[in-house]
């Protein structure tokens, strides 16, 4: 079976790293980290990611726009939003734009792993 690649996009480097460690250890997936939307798009252009974990607030772009562009690059890529905002409107907009799930920080590793597994099963 092919390797599962997960892209983690958050401007908080520590969160990025913690998340990638948890995902690698608990799911056995390989991860890539990006601190900006531009970096994320570049990495997504280089290879396919099964799942992307996106923060909605990025320094160079709104998470929703990144979500749209990533979906244009890889239609099969499943996107999970991980945000500190609890705005229902933003979450609804993300889902409308094709997000698989929307998680509110601080989510536990169980919640995140559960979402990733459901996204992969789709």
């Amino acid at each position: 079976m092919n390797e599962v690649n997960i892209l983690i996009v958050d401007d908080d480097a520590i969160l990025c790293e913690a998340l990638s460690d948890v995902v690698e250890m608990k799911g056995g997936y390989s991860t890539e980290r990006a601190g900006t939307a531009r970096e994320a798009l570049r990495k997504a252009g280089e290879r396919f990611f099964n799942v992307a974990l996106l923060d909605l607030t990025l320094p160079d772009m709104e998470g929703i726009d990144l979500l749209r562009q990533l979906r244009q690059l890889h239609e099969a890529m499943q996107i999970i939003i991980l945000t500190g905002h609890t705005s229902l409107e933003k979450a609804a907009e993300a889902v409308r734009q094709g997000a698989f799930a929307c998680l509110i920080k601080p989510s536990s590793s169980e919640e995140i792993m559960g979402a990733i597994q459901r996204a992969l099963a789709k």
Binding site: A18, D55, T57, G84, I104, K105, P106, S109
Partner: protein, 434 residues
């Protein structure tokens, strides 16, 4: 010529007498009045001269008052040829006139005396019956005027004009007093109205300040929440990572501390969520809720200390309330948390429900330390807390949650006895018809 004076006269006998002073004197004695004779061809005194023209053969007698004491009579005497020759003047004292004058004087004096006496008596009577009464009336009126006491009445016994006047004045006083009372009433009402408006204005202003404070907190909270949630997420994930890594090793203490970390992250997150409730404009819910069901589930979900006993007194047959269940739950759980924190040494927590008209009432009662009266108004103010724990938002959130659902929340408390929070929520139909 006969003795009957008939027949022709045969001759004339003339007899005479000297009209000298002695004769005049004799005549005066006979007449009992002084007599004087003046020849017309000689000098005459002025009074005789002045009377002379009015004497003639036709009017041989004239009278003339000489003074207040005497009057004179004048008579023209003729000689034997019928020619005027003498004027006889007879002077008479005016006794009757003088008596008349005297009588008049006595009469006048008498009249004056009687007048004075009558006047005095009249004045006395007037003084007794009218003037003293008038003075009394005047004094009473003056007293009322100076004291301003319109309840005083004038007392004037009798049935005369003065008592009628006093009665009229009493009537006027009555009317004045009535007007004064009306005025006082109006003035009182006016003052009350001004007070009411002032209080309403102050309350509105306080409400505005509170709303502004809430909005400011909400805005700050929204920003802080996002900033805090990311590091909290990182802490949580790191703890998860370590926990998974240490799993199977014997280091239970390390694992226990990782659990502490995660629990504290959750506690931080709860505070953030509470803060965020201000930033989020919640709309009134439309769910039809069984309030008893919510009360039961909230108590079940609450972790109560061992020394706090919980009881419920739930009315049956309550109509549903239209609201957002999560808001009502949050409000009630905050009230329960507050009650528990008010009973550090244990006590009784009671939740009761009842229908009061168009509202469902939920009471949360504790037997805790109570809130001093001066702090009662502040318990719903943001950041007001007397507890070492908490940031003073629990009750504010409870209030905001209830009010956003069209309800009200009130607090009563007695220091040392406990506190009761009363939540009123509109009954379903009522809320639907709004």
């Amino acid at each position: 010529m006969t003795s009957e004076d008939e027949g022709p006269a045969r001759g004339v006998v003339i007899m005479g007498r000297y009209l000298n002073d002695a004769e005049i004197e004799r005549l005066a004695e006979i007449a009992y009045m002084p007599l004087e004779l003046y020849r017309l061809d000689a000098d005459m005194p002025s009074d005789v001269q002045s009377i002379r023209p009015s004497l003639s053969e036709e009017t041989p007698i004239a009278m003339k008052p000489l003074s207040g004491d005497a009057i004179a009579g004048y008579s023209l005497l003729t000689d034997i040829y019928g020619e005027p020759i003498l004027i006889l003047k007879a002077e008479m004292p005016r006794d009757i006139y003088q008596k008349g004058q005297e009588s008049m004087r006595y009469f006048l004096i008498g009249l004056l005396c009687v007048g004075v006496v009558l006047g005095g008596v009249t004045v006395l009577i007037l003084e007794r019956s009218v003037l003293s009464q008038l003075a009394r009336l005047s004094a009473s009126v003056k007293r009322i005027g100076s004291s301003g006491d319109l309840s005083t009445r004038l007392s004037m016994p009798g049935k005369d004009e003065l008592s009628v006047l006093a009665g009229s004045m009493n009537g006027m006083l009555e009317a004045l007093q009535h007007s004064q009372q009306e005025l006082q009433k109006y003035s009182g009402e006016l003052e009350r109205m001004v007070e009411d408006r002032t209080r309403e204005l102050r309350e509105a202003q306080e409400k505005l300040v509170r709303a502004e404070k809430l909005a400011a907190i909400g805005e700050v909270a929204g920003g802080i929440a996002h900033e805090l949630r990311t590091p909290l997420a990182a802490i949580k994930l790191s703890a998860d990572f370590l926990e998974a890594k240490l799993e199977g090793t014997a280091d239970e203490k390390a694992i226990k501390h990782l659990v502490f970390l995660k629990k504290e992250v959750d506690a931080c997150n709860k505070t953030i969520n509470d803060l965020l409730d201000f930033a989020r404009p919640a709309k009134p819910g439309t769910e039809q809720l069984d309030i008893n069901e919510i009360v039961r589930s909230v108590i079940q979900a609450s972790t109560l200390p061992q020394n706090v006993k919980a009881a419920t007194d739930l009315a049956t047959g309550l109509p549903p309330v239209t609201a957002d269940a999560s808001h009502i739950r949050r409000a009630l759980s905050n009230l329960i948390l507050n009650a528990v924190q008010a009973m550090p040494d244990g006590g009784q927590l009671t939740l009761s429900t009842a229908q009061k008209g168009k509202f469902i009432e939920v009471k949360v009662t504790d037997t805790g330390v109570g809130v001093p009266e001066e702090n009662l108004g502040k318990v719903f103010e943001p950041l007001f807390t007397t507890k070492a724990k908490g940031i003073g938002l629990g009750l504010v959130i409870a209030k905001a949650s209830i009010e956003r659902q069209g309800g009200t929340i009130e607090v009563e408390s007695q220091v040392g006895k406990g506190t009761t929070f009363t939540v009123r929520l509109p009954v379903g139909e009522e809320a639907l018809h709004e």
